[in-house]
Symmetry: C2
Subunit: 165 residues, 2 copies
């Protein structure tokens, strides 16, 4: 029997593929710092030398603001983090005080490719945004990754502009 | 003498153009709800019928989470809101627990075009992000508006993908 990855109740799985046997989707935990989280994130971008104390402070900020920050991970049979991603929920005035979900920092362990972990993670983050009453979810990606996000049900909405200090 | 719009100290105005005489840049206040804020936002998108109580609840959430939400407005000589915009500060794990600023919901009163209010607002939101130690600021826009944001110092970074419920 495969482990369900859906955040919704059994009556509404919304076609999220199952995780491989023994893989689990769950909220980030503080001891994931020493559980392959940093190597997974390093597949995405620069992480830098983050100390355990710096991570603990950040984790505390995320937990204290769980109405905003929703970090999820997927672990493998050994319980090791093999994928991670964040849903940020923004409370707006427009759209009748609507909420928008922002998906950030999706990373999958290079040795775990081909198991649809990225797609399963994205679909669960979208489902979580729906449960939190967001009217839409947005994310920014490289042009080369738009096809992947289209498979996840997304459409191109605009251009990401950036200003770096 | 023109009113300065810079959020930085006098030694570091970072080339932000001055506002017209009598115009002021400041944080959003609760009584701006009845001070042209909603008509300004309606130039941007659907706002819907937001009650004073709903706005008060949202404003309280923004104030209680001022480490995340930074709503700014520009008022004219009569003290009326003529432009508004939001800076959201996101605390990340990547980039050595770096912070990213997200600019959202920039709106300028149609009758106040041609005074560079949009550019002044954006530059001040960027300066605020710098003061809050963000390593970059990002925003999403329609392809037709990239030229305006390039004038504000931004470059194209990626594609915005969206999923609507």
């Amino acid at each position: 029997m495969s482990t369900s990855s859906s955040l919704s109740d059994g009556s509404s799985t919304r076609k999220i593929p199952s995780l491989p046997d023994g893989y689990i989707l769950r909220s980030l935990e503080e001891n994931d710092f020493n559980n392959n989280l940093i190597p997974v994130l390093k597949t995405l971008t620069t992480v830098g030398d983050v100390t355990k104390e710096e991570f603990a402070n950040l984790y505390s900020e995320w937990i204290a603001n769980s109405h905003v920050y929703n970090p999820l991970v997927i672990t493998n049979r050994e319980g090791k983090v093999v994928a991670s991603g964040m849903l940020i929920v923004e409370s707006k005035l427009i759209h009748k005080c609507g909420k928008v979900g922002h998906i950030e920092d999706i990373a999958v362990d290079l040795s775990e490719q081909g198991k649809k972990l990225g797609l399963i993670l994205i679909k669960n983050l979208v489902e979580l945004a729906r449960l939190k009453n967001c009217y839409k979810v947005i994310l920014d990606c490289d042009a080369k990754n738009t096809g992947f996000y289209e498979k996840c049900g997304f459409s191109q909405e605009g251009i990401e502009m950036g200003f770096r200090f």
